[in-house]
């Protein structure tokens, strides 16, 4: 049993200048064979491995990651967590995740800094008002907390917003989910990695998948930069590179991979104590615990794996930010980056079996996967272990693109794409 993180362990390690903390996870070489291999060591992949070991007693498993864990979209997102989606299937999926978030730090014995500071979604035109009111009602019918705010209430909740009727897209109202908020994204990957490692999961970094070996309609293993690994079950959680892995198995997915950008400002004193998102003008902002403004921009509209987006996308977002928050006009931006997101035609994810036995995909989270990390891992683990979806992810199968039973969440996705 690994040492528990506690106040006592913190004091004890302080006496040795914090130089003797044990490693949070090992750095093993791959074994010849595993019962299951997870491709992708981001939050979703590590959570999948954690729940496979914890709830389904699959201990002989590995996570293979081409770079370092949490170095992809897990470390690039704007850390927003909420569950105010429109349709019943999505409400079930995202609120399942939110409920796990609420106890995640305790469960993992790792502080993921989950902060339920509320998420406000603004309306800037009459259609926004109608859509957001409809979504508020739908959320409440599904047991998800949601309130609709008028312009004065928006101003009261977040005083720095410019609610003047004279701006180009005036604030006509908004919704508020108080249980929503943010978490520390790296900590989520590290906490799940530590938990999974403790149960015997091999986390293998710098190990890129180069091919998937098939025998007829089932999988036999993966070719990697660290050699062949035999396995009967492969769970792919490769985000923007899902199609690349799918192509190795001879599959096509309904995905397009596009750059999504974010940026942070210089750190300042606390100025905004919630998350404000605005779909119509495409601006969303929160403040990190270090004091930086965390700003999310939109996706580029072309397929690209280059991990850098267009300048005009950032410019458009900052124009909207300045109109809504004139107080930020002299803030300087410190860093800007892009991540590659895999976008589904209906802006909903895929957590599904495939036509190839033993090959599972968890992808298509597009611009909003971080919030679902714990729930996604839990449900994907269930799907892999039982070779059947859980009832909460049954609607998110690949077959919906054949049956036409899509889960259209373009409105709730809140990032224009």
């Amino acid at each position: 049993m690994r040492n528990k993180y506690s106040l006592f362990s913190l004091v004890k390690n302080a006496f040795s200048y914090h130089e003797n903390w044990e490693k949070a996870w090992k750095d093993p070489e791959p074994k010849k064979e595993y019962d299951a291999v997870i491709v992708g060591g981001g939050g979703h992949g590590l959570a999948t491995a954690y729940y496979l070991a914890k709830k389904h007693n699959m201990k002989n498993i590995a996570v293979v990651e081409k770079g370092w864990i949490g170095g992809g979209n897990t470390g690039r997102n704007t850390t927003i967590i909420r569950s105010n989606y429109l349709w019943d299937a999505s409400a079930g999926l995202y609120d399942h995740a939110l409920k796990i978030w609420e106890n995640l730090s305790q469960e993992l014995n790792y502080n993921v800094m989950f902060s339920q500071r509320g998420v406000m979604n603004l309306a800037h035109n009459l259609q926004d008002v109608r859509d957001l009111k409809r979504r508020t009602h739908a959320n409440r019918l599904n047991g998800i907390d949601a309130v609709y705010l008028n312009t004065e209430q928006v101003k009261k909740f977040c005083p720095i917003i410019n609610t003047s009727p004279d701006i180009r897209y005036p604030v006509l109202g908004g919704t508020l989910q108080r249980r929503a908020g943010t978490a520390r994204h790296d900590a989520v990957a590290w906490g799940y990695a530590r938990g999974a490692d403790e149960m015997g999961v091999d986390i293998i970094q710098n190990c890129e998948v180069k091919g998937i070996k098939r025998n007829g309609d089932s999988v036999e293993g993966i070719e990697t930069t660290k050699g062949f690994i035999k396995t009967k079950k492969i769970g792919v959680v490769a985000a923007g590179h899902s199609s690349v892995i799918a192509n190795m198995a001879g599959l096509r997915l309904p995905l397009e991979s596009k750059p999504l950008q974010a940026l942070v400002s210089e750190p300042v004193k606390p100025i905004i104590d919630t998350v404000v998102m605005s779909n119509a003008v495409h601006a969303y902002v929160s403040q990190s615990d270090k004091g930086e403004l965390v700003i999310g921009a939109g996706t580029d509209d072309y397929v690209s794996y280059s991990q850098k987006g267009s300048h005009d996308v950032v410019e458009g977002t900052l124009n909207a930010i300045l109109e809504l928050y004139p107080i930020f006009s002299r803030m300087r931006m410190l860093r800007q980056w892009g991540g590659i997101v895999d976008i589904c035609p209906d802006a909903s994810p895929i957590i599904s079996k495939t036509s190839i036995k033993g090959l599972y995909f968890n992808c298509g989270w597009g611009t909003g996967g971080f919030k679902a990390t714990p729930g996604s891992g839990d449900l994907f683990a269930h799907t892999i272990a039982n070779d059947e979806p859980h009832k909460l992810n049954a609607a998110f199968n690949l077959n919906r693109f054949v049956s036409g039973d899509l889960v259209d969440e373009h409105g709730a996705a809140a990032v224009a794409h």
Binding site: H241, S243, V244, N247, R252, L253, P254, L255, E256, S257, D300, D301, Y302, V303, S304, Y305, S306, S310, H311, D312, D342, P345, F401, V402, S403, G404
Partner: protein, 91 residues
């Protein structure tokens, strides 16, 4: 951000254009005879290539004409531009 050489207007910034996705997806000749699987392939499934991709673009803030582009999606370098109806370059 990159520069696209519109076959009608010349070199312009990418922000003047809109991407139209994968090129050369042929609309089914007899739609009524397609199975649901075939419809799904046509409507939704994409190669989503990391590497050389053939794609469509429209010069929305210019001549408003559609054309094709060959671009390496791993680094956004454009290899060729050709008009609608022309044969894609083979080199």
């Amino acid at each position: 951000m990159f520069i696209i050489n519109c076959p009608y207007c010349g070199e312009r910034e990418q922000s003047e254009f809109k991407a139209g996705g994968e090129a050369h997806i042929v609309r089914p000749k007899q739609p009524t005879e397609l199975s649901d699987d075939q419809w799904a392939e046509y409507l939704f499934m994409r190669k989503n290539i990391k590497g050389i991709q053939f794609e469509r673009w429209i010069h929305t803030h210019g001549c408003r004409k559609w054309f094709n582009v060959v671009r390496d999606t791993s680094n956004d370098v454009i290899k060729a531009v050709y008009k609608m109806g022309e044969k894609p370059p083979t080199k």
